[in-house]
Amino acid sequence: MSVPLSQMWTVATYVLKQRLRRNRRYPLVLMLEPLFRCNLACAGCGKIQYPGHILRKHLSVEQCLAAVEECGAPMVSIPGGEPLMYPEIGPLVAELVARRKYVYLCTNAILLKEKLEEGLFTPSKYLSFSVHMDGLREEHDEAVCREGVYDQAIEGIREALRRGFRVTTNTTLFDGASAIRMQMFFDEMMDLGVEGMMLSPGYSYSKAPDQEHFLRRQKTHELFSKMLSNPKKRWKFNQSPLFLQFLMGKWDFECTPWGNPTYNMFGWQRPCYLLQEGYASTFKELMETTRWEGYGHKSGNEKCKDCMVHCGYEPTAINTTFVSWKGLKATVEATLTGRL
């Protein structure tokens, strides 16, 4: 695993503090969406289907920082939309880094080289560009519905690495993904020099154009087992090994929808990053008034039945590391040996 020690320490102490306070529900990563506008229209994405006047709006830096303070999570993920299209992305990231938040700027990297050349960002252990890469060139360009994007992303990654930035990749897998091709992709990302990779099966957004290619649970287990049962030591994953083992079918986790709360121009999204069942005006209201028991695999909620996405299950995996000896042992073993 490739998460830096300082970040591991921050997360570990944060979780332990929450547990000492007997806080049953706490956030780990704030999903901060400053805008919905994007320069791609991927078939698997349900985030950008809005009227033009909504796509032209964005949060102010002050609104973003207020949400960060209100939530208190040690990590902030900035998806969107495409955050590099947010006009205040430089100042926002600088403010978050100054607050010692670990920032994952989730980008398709089309604009990355240009923004780096503009000097918008400064390398920091707190800042990582999390580049959307859905596989090798052919698979990625198909997933994002535009040819040439893979090459643009590679160019952006190279430039970020050259300038000393942390770079990770974020890969969403759909039905039909090839385990062998994905293993080739892992090799390619490691050759490129990225710090680590994040993997997740896709979620079937009701508004996403492509409803036919989302992975169901059994297929997810089969694909991830094939891909990861004999991992190369050089493959580094920037995520909990228990989450990857869950995707391989080795753990039976339940969703932690409050683990990655989402804030955007509509407010605090209920119940999670993927479902939009309403909005709370404050984080406290979100935590206290959402009917959490109605969500997750075991709830019987159809929308949650096949979901194994990292925003719901990675917090469970991280929590498991700290609440059980079995979880701690499995995490340490996987971290030391690289085996899953």
Binding site: P51, P209, H213
Partner: protein
């Protein structure tokens, strides 16, 4: 299955109240286009209905007006009707349609964009 077959674009359910209002509000909340909310005093607001709260003592909807500005809250009690007047942005761009356009572009020649 794309969402093309299910669009409510152009739907006008007429004057509504009670359970019918609650149902139309739910559909408007799920709709990815602008709606026109007609108040009982005849005033109209065109915008994107992004939230609703039917549980409290005074249920309300929230919209971003197409004309701009901060979110506007309207109590259910003030709503006369909701028309689905804006383009459904989730409709008409199915994966199948994208595949067809890609194949057509490939057939047209090597020089192509998105």
């Amino acid at each position: 299955m794309g969402s093309d077959e299910h669009t409510l674009e152009g739907w006008d359910p007429g004057p509504i109240d009670g359970e019918a209002l609650a149902e139309v509000v739910e559909r408007a909340f799920d709709y990815r286009g602008d709606v026109t909310v007609v108040r009982r005093d005849g005033a109209e607001l065109i915008g994107y209905l992004f939230n609703r709260n039917a549980d409290g003592p005074a249920p309300f909807v929230q919209l971003f007006a197409a004309a701009g500005g901060d979110p506007v809250s309207i109590p259910y009690a003030d709503i006369h009707s909701i028309r689905f007047t804006g383009r459904d942005t989730a409709a008409g761009n199915s994966y199948a349609a994208w595949l067809r356009s890609r194949e057509a572009a490939k057939a047209a020649g090597p020089a192509r964009g998105a």
